[in-house]
């Protein structure tokens, strides 16, 4: 194995060069001349309507895909009966047409090869690619055990492959959605209420009187039903309080925007607790009945006055008091929103705990306008033999983080680097539906790990950057071209949705379930895949659930009545929380026993040195992370990210609007590409901001390549959450380079 083996392949695969790249975007839509109303109407008439649910993000809104007789997806419209979208998709869902139409899609299996000393991909048949993968599966199992084949995944294809891996004997599975995203809030709320937040969040926003967003930016994230409900809340004159160092869209809709100094949120929340307890405006009956540890908390926060917090957060004590009173006034119809991407500073579980405790004090859990009791309907498992028991799995890998409840990607990746202490050697890796080079920070470590792997296979619809590191690349068809698992998510009322192919798979792409089954069949796991088409599985499941595929094709979404319990706590109910004590744990014995702070404390985090700015990142409503950057429709809306800079900073450095700059971080990492400056009063002078998901390295993404900066590249310093292993990413500082740093090297 040569060291350059996993060198990132930037060049086009042989035989692929240019042929597809030059297709003009216009031709996607054919050469429709006079689209006067008459024709437009005719087009609308003949469209076929197919039930699906969206896969452009994780919200999975149910929708109707409209296709014409030429097998082209014309438009995608939300399903009116779906509680995820209420008939209205977000821009990404509407722009899902572009995911299908994108001419840069992966078209055929690719296998890494060396021609004239140059590493490249060659096109391969599915049989050849699958045979090769199957042989690796067998080989790894013989040499190291099945556990050494790891899976990093996200979204629908992940489920099918998870089944394959578990059947194969590996539960070395992780997804960035946990440690790099929402894991800490799940741990924090679970410690307090005994329940995960989950997705979609059980926040009763539409009926709330006060919504508190702490670094959460609804409206810039398009978590569909949440955005819709926030709009309802605005109509209902609900008070919105946003805590954010940046004037986010949500902040601009807020009655109170608390422009907090970054990394000091816990101090603010402790002060809020202080006010709420001192002024005795907490929900006394609720606290009395449902919580434990109140006295300890009272003592704990006694000194955390708004005046104390002012010095830390830069928020005026009067503002802290006023907002605390607003919350209490609205209680229990108040939501201190748990957020979604919460892996910031390494004390994120504690910050989530602080949020949870505030919700506990205000009595909002289980209350109308607060958090409702979510419910989902379980989909019967399609029969298959029992999974073998792996010798070790994701939980062993993450053992130093006692409350990790899912695999930690960064830890799995570290296991790929051989060392004497490495008890869990990862030797091969499959990546499905996640562009790990853009979602997992510390690229150097990641590249080192990938370089050590004996085999790496990537399944994706697009030639994402991560495909450049693979030995085999498999082209997955999009959600519009396949059957898939039944969507059943938690909500106010249980519901299910189906995904039916609207059109045949384009190019030589295949569904994730088919890939899983083909590999399974080849490595002697046919018993786990006793169907020829996944359609049979959902037909069987739907029948068991009292419906049928035919019915679901007509309605797309089926809602079921609640059966578990009422949506909110009843007047005289004696509800037992699923925690150890049966109560809301304001004071966590569990944390204490594990040697952590039983109640949140504020710790000071590093601040940017002279000439450096804290790198904050966020989202744009028209993009999902890095995966939509090349989507022709969505790229048309926003093709690159900008660097937000306060006018004061711009004056000091001499930056102009639209000027291209490069970034260099505290570890000397320089951005590959440049980014255009946006000078704006929406951001503090101590930080810069950019939307995540741009700066693509792969030239095969013809629209997205080289546009903007990849924030993840600039994140080389992480702060691990000792409780659940989250990857804190907001402690990176960058300096702004106005000269092209690569020009100098060339001379």
């Amino acid at each position: 194995m040569t060291t350059s083996r996993r060198k990132f392949i930037k060049i086009s695969a042989l035989g692929l060069g240019g042929a597809f790249a030059s297709t003009s975007a216009f031709s996607l839509f054919g050469n429709n001349s006079y689209l006067s109303e008459k024709t437009a109407q005719n087009i609308a008439k003949n469209l076929k309507k197919t039930a699906t649910y969206c896969e452009v993000c994780f919200w999975k809104c149910a929708a109707w895909a409209y296709s014409d007789e030429n097998n082209t997806i014309k438009k995608i419209i939300g399903n009116d009966n779906d509680p995820h979208c209420y008939g209205r998709l977000c821009p990404r869902g509407t722009g899902g047409v572009g995911m299908y139409a994108d001419e840069d899609r992966l078209k055929t299996p690719l296998i890494r090869t060396t021609i004239d000393g140059e590493e490249t991909f060659r096109e391969a048949s599915w049989d050849e690619a699958l045979d090769l993968i199957a042989s690796k599966f067998k080989n790894i199992k013989e040499k190291y055990g099945a556990e050494s084949f790891a899976l990093l995944k996200h979204g629908s294809p992940g489920k099918h492959l998870e089944h394959l891996f578990k059947a194969y004997g590996s539960d070395t599975i992780a997804e960035p959605a946990y440690a790099q995203c929402r894991g800490a809030r799940e741990a924090g709320f679970n410690l307090t209420f005994g329940s995960w937040i989950g997705s979609p969040e059980p926040t009763d926003i539409r009926d709330t009187k006060c919504l508190v967003l702490i670094g959460s930016h609804i409206g810039e994230n398009m978590h569909n039903s949440q955005v819709q409900e926030m709009s309802d809340a605005i109509d209902n004159k609900a008070t919105i309080i946003t805590v954010d160092p940046r004037l986010s869209t949500a902040a601009s809709k807020s009655k109170y925007w608390l422009a907090i100094k970054p990394a000091t949120d816990i101090a603010l929340m402790l002060a809020w607790m202080n006010v709420i307890i001192k002024e005795e405006i907490y929900d006394k009956a609720y606290v009395e009945k449902y919580t434990t540890g109140f006295e300890e908390l009272k003592k704990h926060v006694a000194n955390f006055t708004p005046e104390w917090a002012y010095g830390i957060t830069t928020i005026q004590p009067a503002e802290i008091r006023k907002t605390a009173r607003e919350m209490a006034h609205a209680a229990p119809a108040v939501i201190i929103h748990p957020g979604r991407h919460v892996s910031w500073y390494g004390d994120d579980t504690q910050r989530a705990r602080a949020m949870a405790i505030l919700n506990g004090l205000l009595g909002s859990w289980g209350r109308r306008g607060g958090f409702y009791f979510k419910e989902k309907i379980s989909v019967p498992k399609y029969p298959h033999p029992k999974y073998p028991h792996p010798k070790w799995d994701w939980s062993d890998i993450g053992e130093k983080f006692p409350l990790a409840q899912m695999g930690i990607t960064t830890e799995v990746i570290k296991c790929a680097i051989p060392s004497k202490d490495n008890k869990y050697p990862v030797k091969a890796l499959m990546v499905a539906g996640t562009n790990i080079t853009k979602s997992i920070p510390n690229k150097k470590l990641l590249e080192k790990a990938m370089n050590e792997l004996e085999f790496m296979v990537v399944l994706d619809t697009m030639p994402m950057d991560v495909t450049g590191y693979a030995d085999v690349v498999l082209p997955e068809c999009t959600y519009l071209e396949r059957y898939d698992g039944i969507r059943s998510a938690t909500n106010r009322e249980p519901s299910i949705a189906v995904r039916v192919p609207a059109v045949k798979p384009k190019y030589d792409s295949k569904p994730g379930w088919w890939v899983a089954k083909q590999i399974g069949d080849r490595i002697g796991l046919s018993d786990y895949f006793r169907y020829s088409d996944y359609k049979e599985v959902i037909e069987w499941q739907l029948q068991k659930m009292g419906t049928s595929l035919d019915e679901m094709k007509k309605i797309g979404v089926k809602n079921f009545p609640r059966t578990s319990r009422p949506l909110y706590l009843e007047e005289n109910e004696d509800y037992e929380f699923p925690t150890e004590s049966g109560k809301i744990e304001l004071y966590s014995k569990e944390l204490e026993n594990l040697g952590f702070d039983p109640m949140p404390v504020y710790t000071k985090h590093p601040e940017p040195p002279q000439g450096f700015y804290r790198l904050n990142y966020g989202r744009a409503p028209m993009h999902t992370f890095s995966r939509t950057a090349n989507n022709p429709n969505l790229n048309d809306l926003k093709s690159e990210n900008n660097l937000w800079v306060n006018p004061k900073v711009a004056r000091i450095i001499g930056l102009k609007k639209g000027q291209s700059v490069w970034l260099k971080n505290q570890d000397g990492v320089t951005s590959t590409f440049s980014i255009k400056v946006r000078v704006t009063e929406r951001i503090r002078w101590d930080s810069v901001y950019m939307v995540h998901g741009f700066g693509h390295d792969n030239k095969k993404l013809t629209r997205a390549f080289g546009k903007g900066i990849n924030d993840t590249q600039m994140i080389t310093k992480t702060m691990d959450d000792p409780i659940m292993g989250g990857t804190g990413m907001r402690g990176n500082f960058v300096t702004i380079l106005t000269e092209n740093p690569y020009k100098k090297q060339a001379i």
């Binding site: 809306l637 926003k638 946006r678 009063e681």
Partner: protein, 320 residues
């Protein structure tokens, strides 16, 4: 005051964003040629009616070759800049009284053939050598009777050409000034200014072709007068911007202190008006000055003036 106004999404439309590039050089050329033709036709027709065709033969006869060519080329340029040119005939299915473009289309439809007839009436007289070569009168006998007819009606044609030329000249300016969305264009001076400029270039063209001192002298005088009026109108226009709203002030900046300042003040005002004006004045005083130079400068200045106005105007927009 608004500190930041940006497009969040959806705007990077070809030829629209960041500023309009809908009308290109053919429109500038078309406006110039229209003005030039209007000028020559106006002077020719007027002198003919005044019975001065023999004293000033260039204006009435020789230069009359220019308008039909200029108008034809202008029309070609106009059609060239249409993005849906196969439908050009739609212009003549209706007359839209509020649309300057429609006025222009119809005026051109009448003026262009009339200018051909006007030229034709003196063709054999002025260009006998050309006719010897082409022999069109021998080949097409009916032309003889047609020529007779045109000569007989020449006065009527001249009467028709005077108002048509004036409408054509004014129209080239009104076409732009009718758009209140473009602050640089949206002022009442532009019509008269373009007319005067057109007459001035017409006079200059006559000077260029003229062989007699008397004629050169007359048109030198006329041109000088027109240049003075034009300078006054330009001053008036700038003052109008200066007294105007924010958008007009910004529009003025383009001419006075911006990307078009050199072109406008250097080439249009100085080289295209002031210097030829001085040269013509010197010539009128009896000094020997090459009369060709100011005439060429005026024509070139007129052309650049239209380029500047068409391009700069599209950079200006309404604020909201």
């Amino acid at each position: 005051m608004i500190q930041e106004e940006i497009f969040t999404s959806g705007r990077n439309i070809p030829n629209i964003d960041p500023s309009l590039e809908i009308w290109h050089w053919p429109i500038s050329v078309y406006l110039f040629l229209g003005g030039l033709a209007a000028g020559i036709l106006f002077f020719g027709a007027l002198l003919y009616i005044l019975g001065l065709e023999n004293k000033y033969p260039t204006a009435v006869k020789t230069a009359s070759i220019i308008p039909p060519i200029a108008l034809s080329l202008g029309l070609l340029a106009l059609v060239y800049d249409l993005t849906h040119p196969l439908y050009t005939w739609q212009l003549y299915t209706t007359f839209r009284i509020e649309s300057p473009m429609s006025w222009g289309a119809w005026v051109l439809l009448i003026t262009t053939p009339l200018s051909f007839i006007w030229t034709f009436s003196s063709y054999r007289e002025v260009y006998p050598k050309l006719e010897e070569k082409l022999q069109i009168f021998k080949r097409f006998a009916f032309l003889n009777s047609f020529e007779k007819f045109t000569i007989k009606n020449k006065k009527n044609i001249a009467y028709a050409l005077i108002p048509l030329a004036l409408i054509l000249g004014v129209y080239t300016g009104i076409l732009l000034s009718a758009f209140n969305a473009r602050p640089l264009w949206n002022n009442a001076i532009l019509g008269p200014l373009f007319l005067v400029s057109g007459l001035s270039t017409g006079a200059a063209a006559i000077i260029l072709l003229s062989k007699t001192k008397a004629e050169k002298h007359l048109f030198g005088k006329i041109d000088l007068g027109l240049i003075i009026i034009e300078l006054a109108l330009i001053t008036h226009m700038i003052m109008g911007y200066y007294a105007g709203s924010q958008v007009q002030l910004e529009a003025m900046q383009l001419l006075v202190n911006g990307d078009f300042t050199l072109m406008f003040f250097g080439f249009v005002v100085l080289l295209g008006l002031i210097i030829p004006g001085i040269l013509e004045f010197i010539e009128l005083l009896g000094f020997k000055a090459p009369v060709v130079v100011p005439a060429l400068l005026v024509i070139l200045g007129g052309l650049i003036f239209r380029f500047v106005m068409v391009e700069a105007g599209q950079l200006t927009r309404f604020l909201y």
